[in-house]
Symmetry: none
Subunit: 212 residues, 4 copies
């Protein structure tokens, strides 16, 4: 799915897509390793399997690489999320299923998500808006799932919960240095689902603050 946002001087569309895929592949792991700023264009070219000159036939700017990377990751995530959402609808416990699927997805795409998380801010303004729009879309999907399952919930709470799920999913990768030391993925998910469903209420001698 070649991005029309970034012009290339190569005419052959299929080739552009192929080369950009190589590029994204190469760049993601570099960005993950050392961050966008410490990665040089020459390194990107090398990791992509072509020369610096060739790299610049397919982009205009180093930032274009970042955009391509971010765009591609969100594309993946969104596509996968859609599958999850659709698949979850007929289920008995659609929300829980969707959340579990989302966390699994975040586990799978850890590296990519970390890049996304850390480097979006380095994007030039317009590109950033474009990417953040996609993020909103994703949160939107989660909101839909939630309000589908729980039609009585007020929209504000829906929004906050969707945001929380979204963020906590990302944190599994982003804060792996602390989380993945203590939990397996399944344990983490179980806990998150439990918290999501009941909060703290299970363990409360029933809820002073509410009683007042």
């Amino acid at each position: 799915m070649e991005s029309k946002q970034v012009p290339s001087s190569i005419k052959n569309r299929a080739l552009v897509e192929k080369r950009r895929d190589q590029m994204i592949q190469g760049a993601v792991s570099l960005f993950r390793e050392k961050g966008f700023h410490k990665t040089t264009t020459r390194e990107i070219a090398k990791a992509s399997g072509f020369s610096i000159g060739t790299l610049y036939e397919y982009i205009r700017t180093k930032e274009d690489v970042l955009f391509l990377v971010c765009d591609s990751i969100y594309e993946q995530v969104n596509v996968r999320m859609k599958e999850v959402v659709i698949a979850s609808v007929p289920g008995e416990t659609p929300l829980e299923e969707a959340v579990r699927a989302y966390f699994h997805l975040m586990d799978e795409l850890q590296e990519e998500v970390i890049v996304l998380y850390q480097e979006v801010k380095a994007l030039p303004k317009e590109a950033k808006s474009y990417i953040l729009e996609k993020e909103r879309e994703m949160v939107g999907m989660l909101e839909e799932v939630i309000s589908h399952s729980l039609p009585d919930m007020p929209p504000g709470k829906v929004a906050v919960i969707a945001n929380n799920i979204f963020v906590e999913g990302q944190m599994w990768g982003f804060r792996r240095w602390i989380l993945q030391r203590s939990f397996s993925l399944e344990e983490y998910i179980d806990h998150q689902v439990n918290v999501l469903l009941y909060g703290v209420s299970e363990h409360q001698s029933f809820t002073k603050s509410k009683e007042e």
Copy 2:
């Protein structure tokens, strides 16, 4: 509280502390504005009120500035958190109070927290560990508050909830572009507290998944 992590060639301890305070002050807003990588040492020197030569009398490396900044922010946050925790202990609803206080703190220190969040990864390895240790401390404080209030909760769930609170507090600033458009701080806190206490359960025709 002069950091012993970063050596200076100046002997006068008090002076070192003073200059570093100037430096941190100047650097934070620059880092917030343009990020660590796009901020030059000259800019830092200028914003600190002294020359580039002087800057390098008090640090060895540009990364030292980042470290100093991160360290100072965490110091602030930790100190403030301790106050909160201590103050909250005798209260009737200690957890809720502590959470509310924490969110207010995160609101107040938004700028600083964003810097922290985005730039820690640029720290050299050792410095990063040092800073992340402080983060663990903070999460630890939240864990303490939780398990104090809810002694029955299993430690795994405590850890996950502490992490969630910690992260969501930061997100108030970090994802302000989406959150602060929809909610006032108080609304956001109310929602988060509600979610924390009850999760989704309030709105459920009581909990298919649990019944099974």
Copy 3:
């Protein structure tokens, strides 16, 4: 008139000439607009109506294009000048007529002459000599016209005057930013002819320096 100076890998003579004409056409306006150095070979190819690969079938070097352009311009100018010279011989005031015709020619070929003037220096040594030889030819024609009309004039003065005419004609285009703001072409020519014929003498209380 295909230049033997620049070899081509294409055998078909007629084709070579055709392609080179396209090339020259395209290149002149580009050179005029942005100068030789700031014009890229890709731009030349595009303006010529074929691909970069094809361009290089007809030249060896970017400088070859410049040579071809300069050569072609001088060819045009020389051909036109010859017509002028021949036509002027039978006239009553051959010098004046020739000068007027020359200035009109320079007006017509302004763009080309500016390119010539500004870019010849970028030619590699040998090519430059070749082109400058053509310039000498042109000046030679002017000398002929002059000494034909004024057989008594010593050759040194003839040479200087020929040079002056040559240069002032070019200046009409080259210094258009100052000259064409103050004069129409005819006014300029009238003045130049007047100066050429009488110098300053018309306005002098006859010529101190000569009387001594």
Copy 4:
């Protein structure tokens, strides 16, 4: 006379002037040799006697060097011309004296003038206007001398003659490959003065075109 047109990051004014003088000195001969475009900033730095980093402490852009060079040359020429003009006023044959002095000046500053002539066009728009303004000034000085000496001459003719003198002076250097092969400086000047004073009229069986 440090140019305020080009900012420097060095504070010490005297030093800026000194370094820029080195720079101009180094750059002129490089530009003369290979032209502005084929001269690299590293070469300029080297020829100036300092590192590339230092070079860029005193300019922002390669084009700034060109501007500085052009500006300095015109400054020299203008200053020297003013001396000439002033000195010539009380003389008996002020115009001739001024012209002779101007040609001598152009001979002396040959290299510089060639650079000026060939590279002004490479200047960015605003800088070009600034420089061309100085050129107009110079032509203006010549106009003054002429109309002072010959008050009856119509201003149009004055302007054309001033332009001619200005250009022919420059051509002594610019077209040296043809002129300096045939003439010594004094011969060239003598011829030019003669042409200026009498044009072609000395050698004419008195002036068909005028008689009509």
